[in-house]
């Protein structure tokens, strides 16, 4: 625990602090830009992009070694990965637009084929004399152990640029995500904006390769956005809360990973993110599972409450257990099932409202008003007191339940 707190407050050493800050920035950039991907319903395109980086890493290494440079230069490797990721992206677009294959088939084809080519290149590199210590396998699952200061700087600058680009492009990208036709009609170039969105995702993927690896970067793009969506209905809020959720997952995940051995950074970040998601899935207000259950129970109680009162008014015995429970809880019946005074009063009111609705349907042929009769909306919400008095005149004086 101490080790974790230490890491959380940047006390676990220089390298751990670098990783933590880098992960937070990357998490923010990934969460914010991934939101558009999620809103555009193209979350898994990022999976194709991420897997398509692998051959680029391999080719860049081979090219750099062939030209006599150090093959491990992070900038060079990331530049290479960006090139093949872009090719993969273009191929997904091309296949789903020009052929009859659907986008998911195009995604799957590109990700598996590019990944396969990448693995072939990795096995070639392993046989090269400079390739043994290349450590390119680290790009599969990320490796933060040997992170250099300049690597952290690359991640920090790249992440900040991605956030800045998200901020500048948030309006057109939101518009395209929600209603591409309207965006096109308003004069936006939908394809260009889509391209910008995808480039942003690609940039985040490439930056994240070193930290979380190409298999799990997808999680950093998708999970925060899906989580944020549970808490709000406003797109702007979703973008920035996804960013914050991503940053928190990145930072806390890096801290946990630094606190003990054998806790790989990438998977831990993803699991923190998944924990936030699970919590939101169940406990978010309005959209969460718990909220839905409570809403349903309340509705059920209201229906039983009313049906019970109607039964009291008609002096019918009540057998349903839930109805008895609901009425008893509100002090409308005694435990032996006989109505209390309050219960009789409410029952009379419900019965009278029922008659008022009958009259209302005859007086008003207007369905927009009488159509709001669902048994649960109080009549006072629909008609004015004058109108209700008018209905009462038709019905006559109130009579007490039980004929007394």
């Amino acid at each position: 625990m101490d080790a974790f707190l230490n890491a959380l407050f940047l006390g676990a050493g220089y390298n751990a602090a670098l990783v933590g800050i880098g992960a937070a920035l990357l998490g923010f950039a990934a969460g914010a830009s991934g939101t558009f991907l999620f809103l555009r319903k193209r979350a898994l395109v990022s999976d194709a992009v991420a897997h398509a980086t692998l051959p680029g890493v391999g080719l860049a290494f081979i090219a750099m070694v062939a030209l006599g440079f150090d093959g491990r230069s992070l900038i060079g490797l990331l530049a290479g990965s960006a090139v093949t990721a872009a090719i993969g992206l273009v191929l997904v677009e091309w296949m789903s637009r020009k052929t009859r294959l659907s986008e998911d088939a195009a995604i799957g084809a590109v990700l598996s084929v590019f990944f396969g080519i990448g693995i072939v290149l990795l096995t070639i590199i392993q046989t090269m004399s400079q390739g043994r210590q290349a450590g390119l396998e680290g790009f599969l699952l990320g490796s933060t152990a040997g992170m250099l200061f300049q690597d952290a700087v690359v991640i920090a600058i790249g992440g900040s640029l991605a956030v800045a680009a998200t901020f500048v492009l948030r309006r057109p990208m939101t518009l395209v995500a929600f209603d591409p036709e309207y965006a096109a009609a308003s004069g936006y170039d939908v394809r260009k904006i889509d391209l910008a969105m995808m480039s942003l995702v690609m940039a985040v993927t490439v930056i994240g390769l070193k930290l979380v690896g190409l298999i799990l970067i997808v999680a950093m793009l998708i999970i925060p956005a899906v989580t944020a969506r549970f808490w709000t209905e406003k797109s702007d809020t979703v973008i920035w809360s996804a960013g914050i959720l991503g940053a928190v997952s990145g930072y806390v995940g890096a801290a946990i990973s630094a606190s003990a051995p054998a806790l790989p950074t990438g998977p831990i970040i993803v699991l923190v993110s998944a924990a936030l998601f699970t919590f939101s899935l169940f406990f978010a207000p309005a959209r969460g599972v718990a909220a839905a259950v409570i809403r349903r129970q309340r509705f059920q109680a209201r229906v039983h409450h009313r049906q019970g009162l109607l039964a009291l008014a008609r002096q019918e015995p009540i057998h349903d257990k839930l109805t008895l429970k609901v009425l008893g809880r509100d002090g409308l019946i005694r435990p032996d099932g006989v109505a209390t005074d309050a219960g009789r009063a409410k029952a009379a009111k419900v019965a009278r409202d029922e008659r008022r609705w009958d009259v209302a349907r005859e007086v008003h042929k207007d369905v927009s008003l009488t159509g709001r009769y669902d048994g649960l909306t109080p009549i006072e919400d629909v008609f004015t007191p004058d109108e209700i008095a008018q209905f009462d005149a038709v019905i006559g004086k109130p009579t007490a339940v039980g004929g007394a």
Binding site: T99, A109, V113, A274
Partner: protein, 310 residues
């Protein structure tokens, strides 16, 4: 040459072919149902499955591994469905959330547990070890009739052969309901077919194929074979029967060419070492799909103008 071929290359090629066909068969229906990425999700969650199986049984024997992987695949499918329904989230994102989380859990478990004594790591899970599945006891082509040598065939070959046969039988037996429910779900429903059960059965079949193939060839081939041969076959014909035949042909071709290129290709260029056969098979299937996209007779969407389509 012939004797060496039987000993070192015959069984890997056969395993590659059988694994490819076992994945391509259900892949046809997954591609048509726009569920192609289920294969991707399944192949990712196989890792946590085998790690959990290893932690429970303490061995890397095949049966617990397969059961663990199949269990994980089913858990993943249920989880995706639950996230989709409970959270009202679109399928792609639900899938992305579920399989990445499970995969991350698998990697963490693997790092936490002591697997230094056994051959169990992420790279093996991704790439498989097709090259090492050789037939030690074979002396030449005559060994094919020698019961003693046949007893020494790698277990992986027998397992994948059984699974491939199983997948084929299931596909043939359920052909009509599968076909009807894939193309017109409402019509299938009106015929009284259990549409939900058919969909789930297809995913389970795919999971079984993926798990058995994964055991021998790693997850790259699994994803590639679920999608590339059926997708390429889709561009060759408008008939499902013909499409399935094309997909089997493409899968076989990918496996053979991929293995040959990986094993002998580098030698042609003067290099000493072979490259990853699994990766090469995936790459060949991609080339086949690329050619089908460019030249397949039924490649364009119906209703797209000629100029646009090219």
């Amino acid at each position: 040459m012939g004797n060496e071929f039987v000993q070192f290359s015959l069984t890997p090629i056969l395993i590659g072919i059988l694994a490819s066909i076992a994945c391509a068969l259900p892949g046809n229906f997954l591609v048509l149902r726009k569920q192609a990425l289920i294969g991707d999700a399944i192949s990712h969650v196989v890792l946590p499955g085998i790690v959990v199986a290893f932690l429970i049984t303490g061995s890397v024997a095949a049966v617990p591994m397969l059961l663990g992987a199949a269990g994980a695949a089913i858990v993943a499918v249920i989880l995706i469905e639950a996230i989709k329904r409970l959270g009202n989230i679109e399928p792609g994102a639900a899938m992305g959330v579920a399989f990445t989380s499970l995969f991350a859990g698998g990697v963490l478990l693997l790092e936490q547990s002591d697997t230094s004594t056994v051959h169990l790591d992420v790279e093996h899970a991704l790439m498989g070890n097709l090259e090492s599945l050789i037939w030690f006891k074979a002396l030449g082509w005559s060994s094919l009739w020698d019961p003693e040598a046949l007893a020494g065939l790698p277990d992986e070959l027998i397992r994948i052969a059984v699974v491939c046969a199983l997948v084929t039988v299931v596909t043939v037996v359920f052909w009509r309901p599968l076909k009807i429910s894939t193309f017109d779900e409402s019509f299938a429903q009106s015929l009284g077919l259990p549409v939900g059960a058919i969909g789930f059965g297809l995913v389970v079949t795919a999971a079984v194929a993926a798990v058995a193939a994964f055991d021998a060839v790693g997850s790259i081939i699994v994803i590639a074979m679920f999608i590339c041969p059926p997708a390429a076959a889709r561009l060759m014909t408008n008939r499902l029967e013909t499409q399935v035949a094309w997909s089997i042909l493409f899968a076989t071709l990918s496996a053979i060419l991929g293995y040959v290129f990986a094993g002998y290709g580098p030698l042609w260029f003067g290099a000493q070492n072979a490259v990853s056969a699994a990766g090469m098979i995936a790459a060949v299937s991609g080339v086949i799909l690329g050619l089908a996209c460019l030249f397949g007779p039924y490649r364009s969407r119906i209703g797209v103008g000629r100029e646009e389509a090219i």
